[in-house]
């Protein structure tokens, strides 16, 4: 029984290590800044998720109890990684958005990132 959890943890470790490597390699290799955002935010998050699942399986197989720490860290990482990606993309559009044409939104309104900065602040007194 312990052997099965060992093999599963090893498989998840290899998958996680591969995706972590791919994420950082894509950060070096991709050309455009906006496409460079894809590799670290998706592939690296998947790699860390694989490592955390492997740690969960290993602690369950070796010590025989379910550890909640890994689930907590996984949840936190999967919540915060899209937010940081959005913030970096927003900063990039605001700083370098004039350098190239943004794709059309398909409606009358412009991109939400660009439109909300021109609104009047709501006064409450």
């Amino acid at each position: 029984m312990e052997q099965i959890f060992d093999i599963l943890a090893a498989i998840f470790l290899v998958i996680g290590g591969f995706f972590g490597f791919v994420g950082s390699f894509g950060l070096l290799k991709l050309g455009d800044p906006m496409s460079r955002l894809h590799a670290p935010t998706k592939a690296t998050t998947l790699g860390v998720g694989g490592v955390l699942i492997a740690s969960l399986l290993h602690s369950f197989g070796a010590e025989g109890y379910v550890s909640v720490h890994e689930l907590l860290i996984t949840l936190f990482l999967f919540l915060t990684a899209p937010i940081t990606a959005l913030f970096i993309a927003k900063a990039h559009i605001h700083r370098h958005g004039d350098d190239y044409e943004l794709p059309p939104t398909g409606g009358d309104a412009s991109w939400a990132v660009l439109s909300d900065s021109e609104e009047e602040p709501v006064k409450t007194d």
Partner: protein, 89 residues
């Protein structure tokens, strides 16, 4: 068997950290540097979890949690600094 998988994962994430460091040194804009720093935080979380499996202890989980929170807050602060020029107005 799990030892060899651990060595493989250590090699992968270690070289990933080195590539992030190289990207921080040679990046063209400040946005790329912030992105590489954020990736470095995530990779160091993976290294710490691997260290916890390798030594069979649970002391690294608190450190991992603190690094995850600090990395998120620092990336948001960096992005805000890029946008506005200051953090707390």
């Amino acid at each position: 068997m799990i030892d060899y998988a651990l060595y493989f994962a250590f090699a992968c994430f270690g070289s990933a950290l080195l590539m992030n460091l190289w990207k921080i040194v040679t990046a063209h804009g400040v946005g790329d540097r912030v992105l590489a720093l954020d990736t470095m935080v995530v990779n160091s979380i993976a290294i710490l979890v691997l260290m916890g499996i390798f030594q069979g202890t649970e002391v690294f989980f608190e450190a991992t949690m603190i690094i995850a929170m600090l990395g998120f807050v620092s990336t948001v602060a960096f992005a805000r600094f890029m946008l506005r020029g200051n953090i707390i107005e």
